[in-house]
Amino acid sequence: MKKLLLLFISMCLILGCASAANKRSLKDLPKSDFSVEIPDGWWKPQYVNKYLITKDGPFLQYVLIQQRPIDRVFKNTKKKMRPRMLPLESARIIIDEIASDRNIMNFKVIENAPAIIDGHAGFKILFTYKDKKGSEFKTLYYGFINGDSFFNLRYNAATRHYFEKDIADFKQILNSFKLVRG
């Protein structure tokens, strides 16, 4: 009887671990017009319907990659991107969008500079902000316009400890980014 109980507990543990491993996978990432190489240890939370991956949980750090039609309205600013827009101008719209977000406090732009992403002229913005609980986060945001789409890759992490810890992984993802269509 004791042996049976032990066997049962072991089976439960194995199944539990297998289930957790199954949850922490990259499956279900949405189909996209780009490809990236994701380093080991990153996984996609199942409840998120975006190209979002994390290592220790999205509240500690995440990488989000988006492709959005340039005429799609933003959540906070009414400004729109346009096909011939210069990177400086599109960066300005992103800054306005974030600055107008009332869930973000103490928003500070540390760096706003041109960047090349997969050979496309774009921008990079490094900024910090606080959430409503007062925790500080740091974001590195890359973006560029290609045709009718605005692509962006952002790395967001708690300023303390996590941002520096995984920045190298993000750079690896960024450098591997390639448009596969369009």
Binding site: T77, K80, L88, D96, S100
Partner: protein
């Protein structure tokens, strides 16, 4: 006779619904201990607001607003409340009061006003919420939320910032100030506010003008009703109420302070700063209206010309390009050392393919502002101008 009685009864009912009579605070509703707790909570909530980088800090404007509040305060019955006015750097049409007399007014609301009497109307309304202990009464009668807090959720949804404020501060007690009062309390504050501003010597008709001005603004912008008005009674209802009350009480009396000139000269800078926020939110129409109003008084302000140029440029309409360039040029003429219009001109010419003119303006921009935060972009575009569009 029967008909007359019915008409009289209906008339009385209508009058009673329109605006309540002036009220005194029902003492049995509160105790000193309750009030102490509420004020303590209000202070904590204010600390959150004050420490979140949301305040518009201009000592001169704050002093002016507090002078108007002090003038009104002298005519209130509550000697225990010391009124203090603070400004929130936000373009929404809003204001709210905490029970301890600290009143927050958004730059968006201040920028829309025309004179000191309208400011007095707003402050008197908020001060009346404090003197009539509306927060405490709302808290005490929470048993009947339908009466007191029903509008809160509705109002919160109107303005993102308020939804956020309510989110971080909670929706109890002193937060009634932020989340909204009941129809009855708002009507009391309307009536009490009109009385107060009139006692302090202001023209109470300006309260009506303020309501009408803001209603026009709401229609122009196609926005939902601003929080200051709440949802009950509606703006239109409040306009009608105030109109009726003014007609009854102030028939034939036209005097009263308005102080339009003093108000405009004191709040000029705030109007321009708020236009920058409106532009950030892409409220081009109101941003343009306010900058043009500012420029009528300060035609030689390079910063305002540059801002107007930005408003025209950022709308992205081809027909506005020339107007934007004109304002940038004007800004450069007025202040040749101001780098921002040089950059804007450089970008416009660069996009039009005029590399020679673009190069000229990018160079002058970098010369005037060698440490500009976005100099890396300018250097890149300049390099392309020199290399005739090719990357070096």
């Amino acid at each position: 006779m029967k008909y007359i009685a019915v008409i009289l009864a209906v008339g009385c009912l209508a009058a009673a619904c329109a605006l309540p009579p002036p009220v005194s605070v029902p003492e049995d509703l509160w105790t000193e201990k309750d009030e102490e707790i509420l004020w303590h909570r209000a202070q904590k909530e204010q600390l959150v607001l004050d420490n979140n980088d949301w305040l518009y800090r201009d000592a001169e404007i704050e002093t002016y607003l507090n002078e108007v509040a002090a003038r009104l305060g002298a005519f209130t019955d509550s000697t225990d409340i010391v009124f203090k006015i603070k400004i929130i750097n936000d373009p929404n049409l809003n204001a709210f009061a905490f029970p301890n007399g600290v009143i927050y007014v958004h730059t968006g609301l201040l920028a829309r006003m025309e004179n000191e009497a309208q400011l007095a109307a707003l402050l008197a309304h908020e001060m009346t919420h404090c003197t009539l202990r509306h927060s405490l009464r709302a808290l005490k009668s929470k048993k009947d939320p339908a009466d007191n807090m029903a509008t809160a959720g509705q109002n919160r949804d109107n303005v993102a910032m308020l939804r956020y404020l309510a989110g971080i501060l909670g929706t109890n007690g002193s937060m009634a100030a932020v989340t909204g009062y009941s129809r009855r309390f708002e009507a009391e504050a309307d009536r009490g506010g009109l009385d107060l501003m009139a006692k302090a010597g202001y023209d109470p008709r300006q309260a009506l003008n303020l309501f009408e001005l803001l209603q026009q603004e709401i229609e122009n912008q196609g926005i939902k009703e601003p929080f200051f008005f709440g949802t009950h009674p509606s703006v239109q209802q409040r306009i009608e109420n105030a109109d009726r009350w003014l007609a009854n009480e102030y028939l034939g009396k036209n005097s009263g302070l308005i102080n339009a000139e003093i108000f405009r000269s004191r709040l000029d800078r705030l109007v321009l700063d708020n236009a920058r926020l409106d532009l950030q939110f892409s409220r081009f129409y109101i941003a343009r209206k306010n900058v043009e109003m500012y420029l009528r008084r300060h035609q030689e302000d390079a910063d305002a010309h540059y801002l107007l140029g930005e408003i025209f440029r950022q709308q992205g309409r081809q027909r506005d390009t020339r107007t934007a360039i004109e304002h940038y040029r004007q800004a450069i003429v007025l202040d040749p050392s101001f780098s921002a219009p040089h950059k804007a001109m450089g970008l416009m010419h660069y996009k039009e393919g005029d590399r020679i003119l673009a190069k000229k303006f990018f160079e002058s921009c970098l010369l005037l502002s060698p440490d500009a935060p976005d100099k890396a972009y300018i250097q890149g575009y300049l390099k392309r101008c020199i290399n005739n569009g090719e990357e070096s």
